[in-house]
Structure formats: C-alpha cells, structure tokens
Assembly symmetry: D2
Homo-oligomer: 252 residues x 4
C-alpha cells in the first residue's frame, strides 16, 4: 500500500516569501515547482530544485498562466497555440535547474486557474498535453480524475497521475466543492489526516452531504501555504503510516 504526497512549492518571488519550502520538502514525495510565470523566479527555482533533489523529492513542473500579479489564479483566454508555447517554455526552464541538481522533471501539473480550466476546456487541456508531449513524451500529467487534461493525455499516450485533495470537501458526485461555498476547505488537522488515510486504505471519502463516495487517487495533494500546512502534512504522514501506507513518489 503506497501513495504519493504532492505539494505546491517554489512559490516565493524576489523579496517575497511564501510557504516554508525546506520544511515541506522533508515531508512530501513530489514537488510541484512554480516555473516563473505565476510565481517563482530563477533563484527560487534553483533553490527549490536543489533542496528537492537533496531530499529525494520528485520534481514536477507547476505550469501556470503568465500572470504574476494574479498568482495564476485568474482564467486567461489564451489561444491553445500560445498556451502550448508558454507551457513548453516553463517546463524547459525548470528542466535546466533540475538537471543542474542531477535530476529531471518527472511530471507536469497545471496551476490555479489553468488547473481549473483544463478540467473542462478541451482546447487548453490539449495545449498542455501537446506541449508536454513535445518536450518529453515520458513526462506524466498530474490532474483531477475525470478532467479533460487527463483524457487528452491518455489520447496522446502520456501516463496520467490522479490526485485527491486531503483538505477539500467533495460533492456527492465526486467533484470539489467550490472554494466560495461554506465548508469547502477543511481545517481540522486530525480530521483531515484520518480522511487522507481512508482515501488510501479504503479508496473512499465522505462527501459534504455525508454520503460515502469512492475515490481513486495516485497522489494526495497537500497545500503548502496555509497557516497550518506543516502541521497538517505531518499529521497526514503519521496517519498514513499508522494505516500501513507508504509515502512513495509515483514516478519511481
């Protein structure tokens, strides 16, 4: 029994710090590293990839819209061609630092508004996949089960990795409850940890209406920038360990 733990990292920019990357990299197995378009700068990328390499954490490209001011959290109606170019650029830039640290980029995960867009937006979903495939067809795509981007990845012969969110509420249909709804984000650390373990051991989760739904995730996403992120990550690790689940990067 094994599961991957992924977390958004390298989201500082210039003088501005976000999250405790060093601590988080000692807890997760996969790092979604910002590539400089929505967050991250060359120095932050170097530091993050170097620490990830030292900790044995798998490096993924967290690609986003070119929107530093909005942290990539605002949908941008980019043409598929323009988006594909932007995604390839980001993966390639990150790969340079991964190689400098003796590693390689192993997967691609869309960030923020792009993550949400490629659940349904077929044109942008295919653009992300096309860019990834052009760069390296052995790269995996990490995304939401049932999303357009994972469907497109499968069509193009790329391996996909599905993820679940340990601290987000689910609808009875298995989709995420919108952040604008009450109760969408869970903050009780122990509750989240038990929930995470159940996701792995029983492949199920309690939806927001109390119903039990099945869930199949290769990776669990831990948020790194919440006030209690480290505490939650440690609790999830402990609960998984207690349940007999090993934390192991999907790429090994």
């Amino acid at each position: 029994l094994a599961v991957d733990l992924n977390c958004d990292l390298g989201e500082s920019y210039g003088t501005w710090r976000l999250g405790d990357d060093a601590a988080m990299l000692s807890l997760v197995s996969s790092a979604n590293v910002a590539c400089g378009f929505h967050a991250g700068d060359p120095t932050v990328i170097r530091q993050t990839t170097a620490t990830a390499a030292a900790e044995g954490v798998t490096i993924g490209a967290h690609v986003g819209y070119p929107d530093l001011a909005g942290f990539g959290r605002r949908f941008m109606d980019m043409s598929p061609e323009s988006l594909a170019d932007a995604v390839l650029y980001q993966i390639a830039a990150l790969e340079g630092f991964a190689r400098a640290a003796g590693r390689r980029v192993a997967y691609v995960k869309p960030h923020g508004a792009l993550y949400n867009a490629v659940v349904h937006h077929v044109g942008q979903a295919r653009a992300v996949v096309a860019a990834t495939r052009t760069f390296d067809p052995s790269l995996k795509i990490l995304g939401l089960p049932g999303s357009a981007v994972l469907a497109a990845a499968r069509e193009e012969g790329l391996e996909v990795v599905t993820e679940a969110f340990v601290d987000r509420a689910y609808t009875p249909e298995g989709t995420l409850v919108s952040r604008s709804e009450p109760g969408s984000v869970l903050t009780d650390v122990e509750h989240v940890a038990r929930r995470a373990a159940r996701m792995v051991t029983h492949r199920e989760v309690e939806a927001i209406d109390g119903s039990i739904i099945s869930i199949h995730a290769d990776s669990l996403c831990i948020h790194g920038d919440s006030p209690r992120a480290l505490e939650m990550a440690r609790a999830v690790r402990a609960a998984l360990s207690d349940a007999g689940a090993e934390i192991r990067a999907f790429t090994r």
Copy 2:
C-alpha cells in the same frame, strides 16, 4: 577560408514585430535568439528556432537582463548569483524549443548592456560563464576579443568564439568606437561589405583614424534591425563569396 555570420533574431514580442527574421535566417549561419527576458516570447522563440532549424542555422542563446521595457540595453547591477540563475533559466527555456525543432543550443552570447558589462565586469562575466558551464560545458561563449567573459570562459574550459562587427568603427586600439561618437556606425553598404571581406581575408580593418589594425574574428556580427539590414547582409555575403570565403557556422 571560412567565417561565421551571426545576427540577433527573435526580438519581436507579443504584437510587436522587430526585424525580418525569416529573410535574415536565409542569410546568416548563426542566430542569436532572444530568450524572453529582454525580448522574445515563447511563441516568437518557437517560430525563430523552427525557422533556424529549417534553414540549417546554428542556434545560440542571446541572454539578457530581465528588462523588457529597456530591451536589455540598461546596465542592471545584478548579483553574480542572481545573474547566473537568470542566464541558466534563459538557456534552458531556449533549449526546450531548439530540441522541439530537432536541434540544440550551441552557444551563448550576452545581449546589449550585459554584452557591454561582461567586457570588463568580472563578476557578471564569471556568472554568465558559470551558468553556461552548469547547463552544458560543451556550449561555446560568443563575445568580444579581449573581453572578461571570454577570459573567464577559457579559465573554465569552455570554448570561445570571437566576433567582429562589420558596421561598427574601431579605435586604433582595436576596441569599438562608442555609439555616442560620430562615425561609430557605418551605413555605406558597399564599404561595409568590402570591410567584412578584408576582415576575413587579411585579418585586418581600417580604424577610425585611418590606421590599419589586425583583427581575428571567428564570426562576423550583422545587425538585423537596421533599416537596410537585409541589403547589408546580402552585400556582405556577396563580398565574402567574391573573396573566396565560405560562410559556415563555427559550431560545425
């Protein structure tokens, strides 16, 4: 008898066009491709590398300061560490598109104010070299004969490529006459063409005071954004051909 012809390319950005890249790529043997920091965007980079690949033109990373508003022409007092990270990022991003076009980045040439800075600024010169070496020690550095960046490259075991400017006036000491001086930029196409041929066949050039100085350049730099750039490039090619000099990328 052979010489390389290099030119700055891929300097458009978004809706803004600069130079006639397609035409220029049919005339030169090496393309200094802007990497998105002082000019160029992911789509422009893809188009430029694809055309360069189709034309058999060698691809170099034209790395610059992160200053789009100033086109990389204003000195920035970046720390060597920060500059090295920025240079590695740019080379890596370009490499992604070069590989997508079936090629590799072959050399690194600093752009604009960075080009001028690394003639004397040892810290920034070493940063450019360190980043290049970290990325790929088989990359060459293209720069001004006698510059700090070429000295640093030799110290670090990188191959260097020297260049001369066909349309710039030289001092009797063999340095470039500053652009702020009258007569610093030559515009007579036939004169420039003859001068270029002489640089290759006799390894000499007439300085601004009429004295003859020796010059050894592996590559001749043609400017791509002047009004008569294409005309000048064609005249230089013809003059070199008449003089029995082959135009050949230095990297082959």
Copy 3:
C-alpha cells in the same frame, strides 16, 4: 453636422514601435491613449499626450487588462474589485502626463478583450464605471451602443459616448461581425470612406447581408495600426468634409 474621430494611439512599448502616432494625431479628434498595462510605457505616454495636446486632440484613457504579452486581447477573469483598482491606476497615471501637457483626460475607453468583455460582463462593466466615477465623475465613457458598460455608466450618472467602426462589418442586428468571420474587416478605402459619411449624414449603415440598419454614433473609430491606416483616415476625413460633416471632439 459634426462627428468625433477616435483612434487607438500610444501603443508602442520600449524599443517596439506600433503605428504612426504623429501622423494619426493630425487626422483624428480623440486619442485613446494606452496607459502601460496592455501597451505604452511612461515615455510613450508622455510623447503621445504631448503631441495630442499640441494638435488639440482630446485625450482618453485606453484602459486594458494587465497583459503586455497578449496586448490586452485575451479575456482575463479579474474580480471587479481588482479590475476597478487597475482601471483607476491607469487613468491616474495617464492624467499625470495629460496635466503635464496642459490638458486633462476627458474620457475612458476599454481596450481589446476588456472592450469586448464589458459589452456583456456586468461585473467588469460596473468595475470600469466605478473606477472612472471614483477618479472623476465628469469623465465620459466611450463604448459600443447597447453595451453593459454604457448602461452602467448611465446608471451611475456618467455621460456616455457611442461609437461606430468605419471598417468593420455589422450584422443585421447591429452588432459587429466577429473578426473570425470572412468579410468582418473592410479594406477598400473608398468604400469605407463612403460608409463613414453615410453613418454620419444618414445615421445608417449597410449590414453584411445587404440590409440597411440605423446607427447612432457620437464618434467613429478609425484603426491606427493597419497597413493602410493613414490612407483610410485621410479618405474618411475627406468624405466627411464632402458630406458637410465637421470633425469635432465630443468633449468640447
């Protein structure tokens, strides 16, 4: 009989030139000046406002999304609050240069994708109006007849200015034919000029299906960046003059 002629200006950025602003400013009565978010930089803004002032051309704030790479032509899902702040920032920055040239900003016109968004997007439309009103309730809003932004402006007590496009095809319903449709952009200079005169003298235009529709526009929009922009502007002026229509800024 009088009509305003407005044109997008000040769309250069750094080293990149777009359009012939000086020539165009001798032909139009209102200048939609880019404010640095989708195009324009402080130096371009200063030059454009100074020339507009010297030519007696009314200055408007051409406000756009913060998307230089996309020239403001890609919808961005900005929150109304964030958009209002961005619009106020742009108007205020432009006002600084207008005052330095002895003038004032007289109106606000959304640019590109924002222009299209505020035809229907009530939240963003209200944000543009709210920012304008906060800055100066005597500012006018220039937009498409029937658009949400003009409705919001009227609700808030701002004066509105309607515009028609001399070189764009209209549907029988009076909306613009999408640029992706064939025949959406008219290029025959003489035809466009006659059409412009008819818009003013008869308040009607021939739609793409040949039907005649009525049109009421306080201002005619001339595009400044097409290859034949100057020629078209001169022809439109001549046709208006022949028809006895004076070209006069709406703000006087």
Copy 4:
C-alpha cells in the same frame, strides 16, 4: 519639539504579503507608499492609501526602478529622460488613489537602489526632481542630508525634507555605514529608541567609532519589514514622547 516618523509601506504584491501595514500606519506620521514599479499593485495601493487616510498619515510616493523581481534594490542605468517619465507615472498613479481617499500625495522619496543612486548620481537625481516638479511643484523631496537629489530639489525650488535612520550606524563623517559592514544595522530596540530621542532632542548621534556627531533630520525613518519592526516603532514613539517630542508629519 516635533519630528516626523516615516516608514516604507504598501510593499505587498499580489498574493505576497510584506510587513504589517495596518499596524505600522497607527504608529508613523508619514507613509512612503510603493507605486507598483518595485512593489505594490493597484489593490495594495488602494488599501494602503485608504488606511493612511483613515489614520491621518501623510502619503508620500515611494518611487523606484521598474524592477519587481529585484524589489528595486539593483541599480539600473536608466537615462534621465526615461527615469523622469517613470517617476512621473508612479507619482500620478498614486495620486489617483490618494485623491480617492480624500488626500493628496505630499512628498516623493526614492526607494532602494534609486535612493542610493541619487545620493551621488546627478543625472538621475535631477530626473527625480524634474518629474516631481512637473507633476506638482508643491511636492517635497524626502532624502538623505547632503544628497544630490536634495541639492537638485533646492535648485529647482522644491522644499526638501531630511531624514535620519534610527537603526542604522553612522560613520564619523555622518554618512551611513554600508549594510555589508558588521554593526551597520542596530537591533537592540531600547538602544535604538534612546538613540532616536537623542537625534531629536540633542540633534546628535553616536557614530560607529564612538564619536558624537551632529545630525539634523526633519524625519526619522523606521523600517517596516524587519522582524521586530512594530516593537521598534512603539519603543521609538515612547522614547520620543518621554523626551517631550511630538510626532508630527512634516507636511502639516
């Protein structure tokens, strides 16, 4: 006996937070507000000016180089003309938000590397002054005693405000000890507070070598982004109060 307390504020950007602006604005009398070039964005500027207005804190334009990635802390060799345009743009943008909050921008203070540059760089110093004067000749310039920018301001008829740094060591010549030197930044809160009071009551300070030098400052600069910034600000206020010095903005 009165003195102004100024502090850098509004230095957050997008998702990234820096400093505790609300708390600091309850302690100082003048706010140096970042204008979006080195830090700050339209929403941050609105919030900062609104809070400053509510607290009765005077608003100043903290103008910087266009270098978000470097937080304006790297010298940029901008031409005086280009710098003047950038400074005017920043003051004007801030003025829009100050007016929306019922206030006006009262002074201009260069930030970071620009602050250091205009101590000696006459061309850039004059550019800052020229832009300020063009915008509004009643604006004051806040800077280092003896700096080129204050000299230029006096020549142009602008009022100047001199400042001292409560937590920085001084040389026997009255200049600041470089941050790269040991002991350049003072961190003992009580010591700094006593020092601040002495600057105001006795117009003197103990230099790094133990000698006593005279100092005349209209304003004391408190740093807002250090870990103990709030504590230091409170201690300085208390010490000034104990010494009978009123904290009062210089602009009243």
